[in-house]
């Protein structure tokens, strides 16, 4: 009997959903707020996690050094801290038609003695330990490898001595300004120089004294040797990967390492907080689930009569439940989209606050956060499933 199955009338279906959604604006707002907040926090934490992981594994620094070359230390010989200066000439100067900036450094601990003030009046010598970074660059410029800002400089013309630049912290520590004469000494070797500029790097370089490589080698008594070569390789991550790989094949007795967006220290922090972020996301989703489920339980109570009536009019259980679950899914989608957008904006701010680097919006976060929100929304709507067992006659008798 009565063979015709219920056909789908999509227009009316969505019309009913629309009415269901706005039937109680206050409750709609609470549910959207709960789901949206959950989605926002989920998206923010997921974006931070994914962004950090990408930066850690695939992205290279686009500004400054992104490749380093250091002496390879074997387990037998741990004393090798320098490598041949001539390596610089073996490094390809081009990558995909663009110039590779190359700088080699020799680091040495020195004793710094300040000889005079910038005003020319002699005063008591200031002395202490410091680190000299002797450097020589080829291709590009020094600032391209080590971006910095000149915080103090003068048009110093020195004829009788060589010049050196000071990191901001060293200058501050020894109260030095451009124009002052200092002496750098390692054992019996001494090099006098005049401070030309004070540089700010915002890193460990602020503690160093920058001198030409030959003078530094003379000081440290390591002729023809360098401690480190830094490169700034332009191009896409894939191009840089290829450059590194080819360089490593070419220079077999040194270590060629990429410098990614995150440093190793930051990576350690990331690994520590990654689990915490995942747990936080799960807790947030669980709390959202309970919050929305409480609202949905209320909805289920309110809609008993409507469901009884729909059944009396010939509505099947699946047809009626489909309406309510579609409503929940729509709520999940809407709040998921809005929440994810807000969450990604939060993650950009949070990334800057935590890592000093604004997180990039990762598109994958949108579907993931939205699917999670829809799933939470659908799970929260489970109380509505109870409506399926309502008998219309019981509802009309006021028993259900």
């Amino acid at each position: 009997m009565m063979p015709s199955p219920q056909r789908t009338d999509r227009k009316m279906f969505w019309r009913i959903i629309g009415r269901l959604l706005v039937a109680n604006p206050g409750r709609l707002f609470v549910i959207l707020l709960a789901l949206g907040s959950g989605a926002a926090i989920t998206a923010a934490l997921l974006n931070l996690q994914i962004d950090a992981k990408r930066r850690l594994t695939t992205e290279f620094r686009t500004l400054g050094t992104n490749v380093t070359i250091t002496p390879r230390r074997s387990s037998q010989d741990t004393s090798a801290v320098t490598m041949a200066e001539s390596l610089l000439e073996r490094i390809p100067s081009q990558s995909n038609g663009q110039t590779v900036s190359r700088v080699e450094f020799l680091y040495a601990p020195v004793t710094l003695t300040a000889r005079s003030s910038s005003s020319g009046q002699s005063e008591k010598p200031r002395s202490g330990l410091a680190v000299v970074a002797g450097y020589r660059f080829a291709g590009g410029d020094f600032a391209g490898i080590l971006p910095h800002r000149v915080v103090d400089g003068a048009n110093v013309v020195i004829l009788d001595a060589e010049t050196c630049a000071l990191g901001e912290k060293v200058a501050s520590q020894f109260h030095l300004r451009p124009g002052e004469r200092i002496e750098l000494k390692v054992k019996r070797n001494a090099v006098p120089c005049v401070v030309s500029e004070v540089w700010n790097f915002g890193g460990t370089e602020d503690n160093q004294i920058f001198l030409n490589l030959a003078s530094a080698q003379r000081l440290a008594n390591t002729p023809g040797q360098v401690s480190l070569i830094q490169l700034s390789v332009p191009g896409t991550p894939e191009q840089i990967e290829r450059y590194i790989s080819s360089l490593q094949n070419q220079l077999t007795d040194v270590d060629v390492r990429p410098i990614r967006q995150f440093t190793e220290g930051e990576a350690k922090i990331y690994n520590r907080i990654s689990g915490l972020l995942t747990a936080t996301v799960l807790i947030i989703l669980l709390l959202t689930f309970f919050c929305v489920m409480a609202a949905m339980t209320n909805v289920a109570m309110e809609r008993r009569n409507d469901v009884g009536l729909m059944k009396a009019l010939g509505g099947s259980v699946s047809g009626i439940v489909r309406l309510f679950f579609a409503e929940s899914a729509l709520l999940g989608l809407t709040s998921g989209f809005l929440g994810s957008t807000i969450g990604i904006l939060i993650s950009i701010w949070l990334g800057k606050a935590v890592f000093g680097l604004a997180a990039r919006p990762r598109l994958i976060v949108y579907p993931v956060a939205m699917i999670l929100t829809v799933l939470v929304s659908l799970a929260s709507a489970l109380p509505l499933r109870r409506l399926a067992s309502i008998r219309p006659a019981s509802v009309f008798r006021g028993e259900a």
Partner: protein, 256 residues
Amino acid sequence: MSTLLQVPPQTTTTQVVIEGLSKNYGELRALNGVSFSIEQGEWVALMGPSGSGKTTLINILGGLDTLTSGRVMVDNVELGKLRESELVRYRAENVGFVFQQFHLVPYLTALENVMLAQYFHSVTDENQAAEALKRVSLGDRMTHLPSQLSGGEQQRVAIARALINQPKLILADEPTGNLDEANEDIVLGLFRELHTSGHTILMVTHDPDIAQQADRRIELVHGHVSIDTREGLPKLCPFVHPNAPEGDCCDVKPKV
């Protein structure tokens, strides 16, 4: 008021057959061996005191409730043997309900309430639903929510909804119970039109004047048929009237 939906003319046939129908709610017996039949196009007023089983009978006939024993046939379909899914289709296709409490969905407009019955029946037709509302003089109230309508208007929406799928059987449970006199007249006028156009109506009422307008009056007392005016004589049940003469047309023989 214009003519309501017409039922195709048919020769007189028995549309509803009820035989020995009983319904228990736990220890309580709401219906006890009820038997009668209703012809196609007949208007039957179902009367009786509160708790006599009128609404239970209507609910069973409408497929909203199950029976405990006996047999209920509507258009040669035995309701007691239908599965839940078949009952759903039965309600959608064969029955139009009009309730005392109107039972409109509060967040749907008058038009959408009518379309809801179409939606669960097959597919919606907004023009047809609008036409149904115009027929009950609510052409200017289509976009109103139930809360914006008077009781009489709500009941007229419910009637339009009950008729939209052209059901063979209209079950009305005190349709004028919550209405003032003016609205009662309007709603009864609609039922008269339905009757004239060939619909079968079973209407629960407490009002003898309304019952007077029906073709036939059946009275239930304590779950038994006590009066059926088609047979001309009151049916007195010995359980209710223990001194009634034996052999009276009760469904259950008295224990002597």
